[in-house]
Every structure is written in C-alpha cells, then in structure tokens.
C-alpha cells in the first residue's frame, strides 16, 4: 500500500499527464481521482503542486487540440461521431451547437467543467473556424482553471483524500468491482433509454427512397431542413424544395405549420 503511495509521489506528474491525456482524447478513463490524489500528495511537496497543475493543463490542451484540428479538417463528421454515443445523435449535435452559439468561443473556458461539452467544444471550435491563437488561449485558460480546481481540492482536503487513497489501495479490487458494476448498470440504463427513444422514432422515420418518390408527386410533403446555419454555410446545398428553419425557432413557430400536410424533418 505504502509502495503504491510512494510510486504516486515519485511518478504522480507522469500518471496525471497520461490519465488526463487519455480522458481528454476520449478514452473512458476518469482522471479526476488522479488529480485529487496528486493534489493531496503535493501537500508534502512531492510531487510539486505547480508541476501537477501545469502538466494536467498541458495534457488537456494536447487532447483538446487533436479534436480541434479534427474539427477543422473533417467538420461536422467529427461531431456526428462524438454524438453517436448519445441517446439522440441529432439533438446532441443541435444542443452542442446551441450552447456554443449562446456562449461563443467563451464556452471553451467553462467546457472542462461540463460533462459532455468538454469533448464536443474543441471540434466545434475547429469547425466554427475559431482562430487557432484564440482557441489556444481560451482552452488554456479553461484547462488551467479546471486543473487548479481539482488539484486544489485534493490539496485542500489532503487528509480525507489520502485516507480514501489508502482505502482504495487496501480494498482496491472490491472498490473496482463496485465501480465496474455501477458503470455497467449505468450503461445498461442508458442503452435501454436509447433503444426506447429509437423505437419510438423508428416507426415514424421515412426512408430517403420513399421521400424521393413522394417529392415527385403532385402533393409532396413539406420538407424542413433543421440543420444549423453554420452547417449550411459549410455545404450550401439542401434537398429540393426544402425550407430551412432553425431548430430553436421551430417550437415557437409551430402554429404556422399546416396540420393537414405531411412534414418531413431532417438535420445533419
């Protein structure tokens, strides 16, 4: 047990660096416990508090930068891949765009604290063509605040964290078992929820071939293009006869939608 703590004292900064990098790259490896632990151990001066914060912020910046560059290179494809894991991929894309529109590039500062947004904000900044220097400075600020907060919490509550750390090393396998069981249960619930929504929507979906045929009829359905305006600027094309309506204005303007006409919605 003491060996493990000694190992962390010796290699805490390296462990924090790779844990943060892995999590920010998208791997399901939680880095917060490592930040707390490194903060708690930094009370004794080893590892250095400043080094832990700096390396955690640097690792986060490197992880985010890869997503930012992917967003710049591949545009909405990256966002769609990231959102594929959510319950409703379409609304996931729209929701994250909405957050970015509301807060602008400043969302990058708050993003590390908001689960979900932290992995979406960098590619969104990339595809929104936020200038690299602006992106790097805002992301660095957010990363520094985030790393300082969690490492600082570990430092402030050092005794409690060290106590938990000793417990984790002593009952490591049991704690890991409970954590894995909890995570599996959460994943199962998420999958069931996703399946329920998917089934509900699935019966109502129209296949592209069906729509193509209907568009050639005398009484075609009303097609609404719900993609974000930014996406249309990137690829200024739409379906024949489609009307572009922003998703945010659709609930407000639902009164204008004719009830006696078939409606087909599409987004990215």
């Amino acid at each position: 047990m003491n060996d493990s703590i000694e190992f962390l004292r010796e290699h805490g900064t390296t462990v924090v660096f790779f844990a943060v990098l892995a999590e920010q790259m998208g791997l399901p490896i939680p880095c917060t416990p490592w930040l707390l632990a490194a903060g708690a151990l930094a009370r004794s001066g080893r590892p250095s508090l400043a080094a832990v914060i700096a390396l955690a912020a640097l690792a986060a910046a490197l992880g985010h930068l890869s997503w930012y560059l992917a967003g710049r290179r591949w545009g909405y494809g990256v966002l769609r891949v990231l959102c594929r894991l959510s319950i409703e991929p379409d609304s996931c894309v729209q929701r994250t765009q909405g957050t970015f529109d509301r807060f602008g590039a400043g969302a990058l500062v708050a993003a590390p604290f908001i689960p979900g947004l932290t992995s979406i904000a960098p590619p969104l900044a990339g595809l929104s063509r936020v200038p690299l220097w602006r992106y790097l400075s805002l992301d660095a600020l957010g990363n520094l605040l985030w790393a300082s907060t969690f490492v600082g919490l570990g430092y402030g509550f050092g005794d409690q964290v060290t106590w938990a750390l000793r417990g984790a090393f002593m009952y490591g396998s049991s704690i890991l078992g409970v954590a894995v069981a909890g995570l599996s249960l959460w994943l199962l619930l998420k999958l069931a929820q996703r399946e329920r929504v998917r089934r509900k929507l699935h019966v109502d979906r129209i296949r592209p071939a069906q729509l193509k045929e209907l568009l050639g009829n005398a009484n075609p359905p009303l097609v609404l293009d719900l993609r974000h305006r930014r996406e249309l600027v990137e690829d200024p094309h739409t379906l024949p006869g489609a009307l572009h309506v922003s998703p945010s204005e659709l609930p407000r303007r639902h009164g204008e939608i004719p009830r006696n006409r078939d409606l087909v919605l599409f987004c990215s």
Partner: protein, 53 residues
C-alpha cells in the same frame, strides 16, 4: 424534434432516416441553398385550400 412537434399536436411528421448525410450518400439530388437574408425568418408555406366538387 419530431417528438416535440407531436406533443404540440403536429402528428404527420416524420424524420428522414439518415438525415442529410444519408440522402447525399445515396446520390440523391440536392439544390443550392440560397440565403437571402440570414436574419430573416422564412415563412412556412401553407397549402392553398382544396376545392371540393
């Protein structure tokens, strides 16, 4: 979005399977999107009433 509209009483609504990406992947036609005024809302067209014999 489709569910939101259904909750508001618009039942004849269907999302396009695969979205825009699915449509273009099949090579189906697209037309240039013309943004006349990005700030202006486009009116949602209401069909003309049908005459009955």
């Amino acid at each position: 979005m489709a569910l939101q509209l259904k909750r508001r009483g618009i039942y004849r609504v269907r999302p396009l399977e695969g979205g825009y990406a699915g449509w273009t992947r099949l090579g189906y036609p697209v037309v240039p999107w013309e943004s006349l005024d990005p700030q202006r809302e486009q009116p949602i067209p209401v069909p003309a009433p049908q005459l009955t014999a």
